[in-house]
Symmetry: C2
Subunit: 215 residues, 2 copies
């Protein structure tokens, strides 16, 4: 089985290594779900996944790397769930709102886990940019699929900008909610607001952009 979902082109992991990696991610998810960011302690993760501390650090070079990788993992599952229940028929804008609100409801079910992953994502510095890009890519993909029912069209720069802005809003308002600085209603309103950037009709060329048509 070389259908490994290990994102980058890192060294191809052996079976036992893949198993270790999964144990680590599972332990992380469990600890994070119980007590959030602070409860994910590297020694505990190592112990719970039956791996030496040094090994844990060989697989994930920092706590932030570990949690961002966990987020990638969770997003893959979420993406599968969302794809399984498509919301056809609605206009694109509503489909995006629907998708994000559904994801939001999912996160409300595991607030500690969400907090741990989001804090790590926001705190990540340059050394984690590859992993953060991975998360960014999968998120972009999800939103893009919500906008377009057919995935043949390539997004132009203007549309990518809209998707980026939606992602920024999504992350930040989620954080605000987790920190008790925003209500659920506010999160919903923010999402509905930013969704107005998506053009009503899926007109083909250069939609959503009256900014300059470079490149």
């Amino acid at each position: 089985m070389m259908t490994t979902y290990t994102k980058g082109a890192g060294a191809p992991l052996t079976e036992r290594q893949e198993a270790r990696r999964r144990r680590i991610l599972r332990a992380t998810t469990r600890l994070a779900a119980q007590g959030g960011y602070d409860a994910v302690q590297m020694r505990e993760v190592a112990e719970m996944s039956e791996v030496a501390l040094g090994t844990l650090y060989r697989y994930f070079p920092s706590k932030v790397h570990l949690l961002v990788a966990t987020m990638y993992d969770q997003l893959e599952q979420l993406g599968g769930q969302l794809r399984r229940k498509p919301n056809k028929g609605l206009p694109p804008r509503d489909r995006v709102v629907d998708t994000l609100l559904r994801a939001f409801r999912g996160m409300q079910r595991e607030p500690h886990l969400t907090e741990a992953m989001m804090r790590a994502l926001q705190f990540a510095d340059r050394s984690v940019s590859a992993e953060v890009d991975g998360v960014s890519r999968i998120t972009t993909q999800m939103i893009y699929e919500a906008i377009h029912e057919d995935l043949t069209v390539e997004p132009g720069p203007a549309e990518l900008a809209v998707i980026r802005v939606i992602t920024h809003t999504w992350h930040s308002s989620l954080i605000s909610w987790l920190n008790g600085r925003a209500s659920i209603a506010q999160v919903r309103l923010d999402i509905e607001t930013v969704a107005r950037l998506i053009p009503e009709e899926p007109g083909s060329a250069d939609e959503a952009g009256e900014t300059q048509h470079s490149a």
Copy 2:
């Protein structure tokens, strides 16, 4: 408007205490400007501001508190500068873009300081919500002043949502730029994109909102 810059209604500081507080903030700014978040080490801040470590912690209960307070401080100065050079004549949307891009240029001049403050702001948890709210308030104020030339109108919930979305985008794209995951052009494009949420004309009532009027 407000005369004292001590935000909350904390204990009224004596002169020497006020001086200590300022020394601490100045040391923090200096260290952050040199080496970013990691270079702001509590022992160093204490030493440079000639204050015992315990005292530093009495003034700012954590590194994140300290950096968020520093951000508040910097934003006050920035707000003053921006107000001094108003951009009249432009439509509201362009004024906001102009303001944010000007702020962005300011931050490009001190990338490490910006990184330190923004990382802290994004990493802050519930225990810092009061301080984060302070920063949020001052930011909202700045954007609001850019939209309306007269400040008599109170913003409605729909307009507040637009401002929140702009703020979210502003923070997140700044972070992406700091982490090398977004170019300056992308930041600019994101800002221009999100600014489209601001109505063209300063029409008065319930502008910018066709979302439902619940609760």
